[in-house]
């Protein structure tokens, strides 16, 4: 039982890290950036290319991987989303463009690296540590420690820093924020910068724990997205709560029924929340478009 809880916590930390980056982008840019998933995958594979193919030290290749995610994220915003938003494209248009980017880049990753599993771990992970009566590997421990730290810093940044407050202002009412002279484009770019960097960090941690496939970002994104939607999108403490709930539901159901239904259960929870409480646990009321 302890083991189930610990595993749930590991999953939850991973979901949280991906979800917070996604939600940061959603709150400022107001569309579902599905390509966030491929930003993550590219981070993991860049680390692999630098570390294994080019033979650079692990620390350098990790930094390179995170940097690759950041650059890809802001590059997409700059080259594709910003021109679309400049033309007042609807969220559906942006979502479709994002799906297109995702599909094309995932295929590109499979083309370059193959569709099988790759790893940048130097050797086999040693037998797990024994903690509160359950096994925990070093990568899992890293996820549990790093993810809350990253999310806490993001939260503090949004609450305290000038540009963080600007992100929240734009999220609340972007017309009013622009009237006060905040550039919406600049705020969105900052959100993409931090969101994509978080995806890069998540990529390294997840790949360190469970290796990488070209599909890794997709599942990570979906679970992160579900966690932030059930927690209340744009609300970081809510996202943490959502991630824990999702992790628990998946692992407890895996324990009681069978782990093969984990994904179906995650989506069932998502749909229940969308229907019964679309604003999530802690989110404010949802606003439909106003005329």
């Amino acid at each position: 039982m302890n083991q189930v809880l610990v595993n749930a916590l590991v999953s939850a930390s991973g979901y949280l890290l991906v979800g917070v980056g996604f939600s940061l982008i959603y709150t400022s840019a107001r569309f579902f950036h599905i390509a966030h998933g491929i930003v993550l995958t590219v981070g993991a594979y860049s680390t692999f290319a630098l570390g294994v193919w080019a033979g650079l030290p692990l620390s350098v290749s990790i930094a390179g991987g995170i940097l690759a995610s950041t650059i890809l994220g802001i590059g997409l915003e700059w080259s594709i989303y910003r021109p679309l938003q400049g033309r007042q494209a609807s969220p559906a248009t942006l979502l479709l463009a994002s799906l297109g980017i995702y599909v094309a880049l995932q295929a590109l990753v499979s083309l370059i690296f193959g569709s099988g599993t790759q790893t940048f771990r130097p050797s086999e992970v040693p037998e797990g540590l024994l903690l509160v009566g359950s096994r925990l590997t070093v990568p899992q421990l890293a996820i549990i420690v790093v993810s809350p730290i990253c999310c806490l810093s993001t939260w503090l940044f949004l609450q305290r820093a000038q540009i963080g407050k600007m992100i929240r202002a734009v999220a609340n009412d972007h017309d009013l924020a622009e009237a006060y002279g905040f550039s919406r484009d600049r705020v969105i770019m900052v959100a993409f910068f931090f969101g994509s960097t978080l995806a890069g960090v998540a990529a390294i941690l997840l790949a360190y724990d469970t290796d990488m496939t070209p599909m890794m970002g997709f599942r990570a994104l979906l679970m992160g997205m579900i966690a932030v939607i059930i927690g209340g999108i744009g609300n970081i403490p809510g996202a943490a709560l959502g991630a824990v709930l999702l992790g628990l539901a998946q692992h407890l159901s895996g324990w009681w029924i069978s782990s093969k239904w984990q994904d179906a259960i995650a989506f069932l929870i998502l749909i229940l929340f969308l229907l019964l409480r679309p604003q999530g646990f802690l989110g404010g009321p949802l606003r439909r478009a106003t005329v």
């Binding site: 579902f32 297109g100 599909v103 094309a104 880049l105 295929a107 997205m225 179906a264």
Partner: protein, 290 residues
């Protein structure tokens, strides 16, 4: 020669899929990512009926369509309570749940092992064996889908769907029960997608869950949007372009694993370019959500 016929058959199957999704995405403005799930429901229903119970092809097709229409209510009624991107995400969720059922309900679907030995169809004594026969059958299915869609889009029903797309509150103010119209459109679209699934299952004679993933849904959406959502010939053009373009690559001698990835790269890029340059598609009039 066989190969060109194979491509024609695939183009026919995808035309049915794209035309049926066009009713939802193009006419009603509902961007559903669950289309591959209905395609799979049709394929699994008629494959199971034919392979295990020896049910005739046409009966299997009709049962598959009925099953997909019934399941569509379970999907559309909850999803339609949501709007815009939340609607898209809900259909996404249902797509993932149905895929999970195809993949994990081992007792029924044999999971990843798939269902082999689906017999070749026989219609009123005409056994469909050769590729030429299948081209004819695919052509009949696509024509059937086109006739139904033509009827719907020129009928009052189709006009109300377009009115809902343009301004739902206005359509309601005319006393139209817009939910009923959208749910019906969903069911018709699902049933037609299921017919494409049955055709696919009986043509390939083997199905497994990998043919009905969310990527397949995205492919069909791309066909509708690249061709032109809401237009009559857009889905046909989109389906033909996206089926033949990657095959052309295989023709110049690329190995099939490379060609499969290139196909995704091409349609992904096309989707992005279309959104940026021509959101209404090649021949469409309606720009998705402008």
């Amino acid at each position: 020669m066989e190969y060109i016929l194979h491509i024609l058959i695939l183009a026919g199957i995808y035309t049915v899929l794209a035309v049926s999704l066009n009713l939802l995405a193009g006419h009603a403005g509902l961007l559903s990512i669950a289309h591959a799930a209905f395609y799979g429901l049709g394929a699994y229903t008629s494959a199971l009926l034919a392979a295990y119970l020896g049910v005739p092809f046409l009966v299997g097709v009709l049962v598959g369509m009925a099953v997909a229409a019934l399941v569509s209510f379970a999907i559309s009624l909850p999803s339609l309570r949501l709007h815009d991107d939340y609607f898209v995400i809900a259909t996404f969720g249902f797509q993932m749940i149905l895929f999970s059922i195809f993949n994990n309900w081992i007792d029924l679907t044999r999971g990843p092992l798939g269902i082999p030995g689906i017999p070749q169809p026989m219609i009123f004594g005409w056994t469909i064996r050769s590729h030429v026969d299948f081209v004819v059958l695919a052509f009949i299915f696509a024509t059937f889908a086109y006739i139904i869609m033509g009827r719907i889009s020129s009928s009052p029903f189709g006009r109300i769907l377009r009115a809902i797309r343009e301004d739902e509150v206005f359509a309601q103010s005319l006393g139209k029960n817009t939910l009923w119209f959208k749910v019906t459109a969903f069911a018709v679209s699902a049933a037609l997608a299921a017919s494409a699934g049955s055709l696919y299952a009986h043509y390939i004679t083997y199905i497994d869950p990998t043919s009905f993933t969310v990527m397949e849904s995205i492919l069909v959406i791309s066909m509708v949007i690249i061709g032109g959502a809401g237009s009559r010939w857009g889905p046909l053009i989109g389906a033909v372009v996206l089926v033949t373009l990657p095959e052309a690559l295989r023709f110049i001698g690329l190995p099939s694993s490379v060609a499969a990835n290139l196909r995704q790269i091409i349609y992904g890029i096309l989707l992005v370019v279309m959104m940026m340059v021509r959101p209404r598609g090649l021949v469409g009039k309606y720009g998705f959500g402008r």
